[in-house]
């Protein structure tokens, strides 16, 4: 299987006047062609920061990134120049943002914006050509042709989100990042769109990263999962393995705290007590130890390394095997 993205030892640090905030620490994961990986975590866990760093959309003035993110087996996104990166954008990597309502210019028609975006890489493309391409994509996301000539405010949230997805597909990219792309929608619309995305992927053979705080989104639309907490990936692996038997106490907590959508019974709904730790101080032991009900002395003193388990699963817990 072909590797699309391999992230190695990625660190993202925000510099403010008075302190450094270690927003992402030692992140590592691999996505193969056709994979769909959900990155889950609470708000502030650094999942969006991770995505923005890979996409090189962070504010360069205040952010420092180290590590590697190898795209398509040979190009490192982190060390690449902005010009080279611009070449990749939308052609090979595209993104769908959280609030579709705000992710398009309110005073331009969809047509104008699509034409401009399309022509970044195909400057000579004719209007008819672009129109044809976009309308075929609109069909793919179950939208009527007339959407092409509307203004954003003339559409509903669901329509806009579908439009944003269609726009992200313009150049048939290898990788699409969905940054909380369905969060602002109501549950029914979200479910429909997720279904459509999964359907689409079968025909387009695309690879996807799904940034979300919602375990059910991952359950419905991903085959891989990365659980993020306070800037660290605590557990990565196949969705079916991890949902069946989570090996990190935090993952266990997360799975227990979301209601099963498809009737499966996961026992009592619980929440994890405590808050996210301060990201401006580096932590000696396990990052989750403060909130972990199984934490022992070792957990506070020694950082757990990734334990590789079957099916490419990695767990950062001293007691992973015992879970």
């Amino acid at each position: 299987m072909k590797e699309i993205l391999r992230v190695e030892d990625l660190n993202v640090t925000y510099q403010t006047k008075s302190k450094s905030i270690y927003a992402v620490r030692n992140a590592a994961f691999t996505i193969n062609q056709g994979d769909s990986m959900g990155v889950v975590g609470e708000s502030g866990s650094g999942k969006s920061t991770l995505a923005m760093a890979v996409l090189r959309l962070h504010d360069e003035k205040y952010t420092e990134i180290t590590g590697r993110a190898v795209f398509d087996e040979d190009r490192d996104l982190i060390s690449m120049s902005q010009t080279d990166m611009d070449e990749l954008r939308w052609k090979e990597i595209s993104v769908v943002f959280q609030r579709a309502m705000n992710s398009l210019s309110p005073v331009h028609r969809i047509r104008q914006q699509v034409e401009d975006i399309y022509r970044i890489h195909e400057p000579k493309a004719s209007r008819e050509e672009i129109r044809e391409r976009m309308i075929s994509l609109l069909k793919l996301v179950n939208l009527p042709e007339r959407v092409y000539d509307l203004y954003p405010h003339e559409m509903s949230g669901g329509m806009l989100q579908r439009t944003a997805i269609a726009i992200s597909l313009l150049h048939n990219p290898k990788l699409i990042v969905f940054d909380e792309a369905t969060t602002a929608l109501d549950v029914v619309t979200q479910g429909q769109i997720l279904k459509e995305i999964v359907e689409m992927e079968k025909t387009l053979n695309m690879t996807r990263i799904m940034i979300t705080h919602d375990m059910s989104v991952v359950a419905e639309s991903c085959n891989k999962i990365a659980v993020m907490y306070a800037g660290e990936l605590l557990e990565t692996g196949m969705v079916k393995d991890i949902f069946k038997k989570p090996c990190h106490p935090y993952t266990q907590g997360l799975i227990k705290s979301f209601p099963a959508l498809k009737g499966g019974h996961h026992g009592k709904l619980t929440s994890i007590p405590g808050n996210l730790p301060d990201l401006s101080v580096s932590c000696k032991g396990c990052i989750f130890a403060d909130r972990c009900d199984r934490a022992e002395k070792k957990c506070f003193e020694e950082k757990p390394s990734y334990k590789a388990m079957q099916n490419g699963r990695n767990v950062a817990c001293h007691f992973a095997e015992e879970m």
Partner: protein, 321 residues
């Protein structure tokens, strides 16, 4: 769209009506009887008094008087200046031209320069250029317009002798045709510069803050993520979105602009409505002052209505609200 214009139209008409009623009430409440107020203090001619009483119906109840004056307004009659012995409407109409020329020129110049400066300052936010320009604008916004005019006269007329400080044309030379236009433009330099300089800060402020705000909008991220060059994002998307508020300011600042024009006209002896107003104040010619007040309210209402319609054309979001 139609409903939107209708609503604005009603507010506009209401504004004019309220100004009219306020004027009426002020004359009623002023010390001395309304007739004496309209006649002027020095005038005791019983014939004129009888004529005014007849015309305005001062012996009738107040509400009838109001109705009668409203009727006069509908016929375009703004009353008569007893002191000048002429209809106020005619006097204002004569002076309207120079005021509009000066006001419009300066307002357009200020709109263009202020917006450009604001956009530039926003792009260089926090850098020395921005700090200097923003600081200067702040000082200019605190400056009395007439004072700036006087200072420019000291500098450019008295000391450097570059520009004329007085009037709209050279009275000694009797220019015609293109020479007349050039002469007017030459005389307009100082008053227009003064007015423009004091109007720029408003456009500057709004242009700068709206560019900064739009730059932080989420849709800008979409275009960045699509690899669109920063210049194109700025030209096509940030500017188009950020320019809209400056258009509304053009309407809102109309009242400020008119005040400025009037004061500046007095400084530079520009033969417009400002001069008319100054004379009317000195002679306590109340019918003229009331007429000017009403004309000002009407022009502001008309301009604001126009600006609202233009804005609705520019911003697709308005049409369906």
């Amino acid at each position: 769209m139609k409903r939107f214009i209708c609503r604005r139209l009603i507010t506009g008409i209401l504004t004019i009506f309220i100004v009219f009623v306020l004027n009426f009430l002020l004359i009623q409440a002023a010390p001395g009887s309304p007739v004496t107020t309209l006649m002027g203090k020095e005038n005791h001619d019983p014939e004129i008094r009888a004529m005014l009483e007849e015309k305005y119906g001062f012996d009738k109840p107040v509400i009838v008087q109001l109705g009668r004056q409203l009727e006069m307004l509908f016929h375009g009659d703004l009353g008569d200046s007893i002191i000048q012995n002429r209809p106020v409407g005619e006097m204002i109409a004569e002076k309207l031209g120079p005021t509009i020329v000066l006001g419009l020129t300066s307002a357009l110049l200020a709109l263009i320069i202020g917006t450009l400066l604001g956009v530039m300052a926003a792009r260089k936010e926090g850098k020395p250029v921005d700090m200097v320009v923003s600081g200067t604008q702040y000082v200019f916004s605190a400056m009395p317009q007439f004072w700036l005019g006087l200072m420019l006269i000291i500098l450019f007329s008295s000391n450097l002798d570059i520009f004329p400080s007085y009037g709209m044309t050279d009275a000694r030379a009797d220019h015609t045709g293109i020479n007349y236009v050039i002469d007017v433009l030459y005389h307009m330099c100082l008053p227009a510069i003064t007015l423009t300089l004091t109007l720029i800060p408003q456009y500057f402020k709004i242009a700068k803050s709206s560019v900064l705000q739009v730059t932080n909008e989420e849709f800008i991220q979409t275009f960045k993520a699509a690899g669109m060059p920063v210049k194109q994002i700025f030209r096509k998307y940030i500017l188009r979105n950020a320019i809209l508020p400056t258009v509304t300011i053009f309407g809102i600042s109309m009242a400020y602009l008119l005040t400025g024009v009037m004061l500046i006209e007095i400084v530079f002896a520009w033969p417009g409505m400002g001069r008319l107003m100054m004379t009317a104040i000195n002679q306590r010619d109340y019918p003229t002052l009331i007429g000017i007040n009403l004309i000002m309210a009407i022009s502001v209402a008309v301009v604001m209505l126009l600006v609202d319609i233009i804005y609705a054309k520019l911003d697709p979001r308005i049409r369906y609200e």
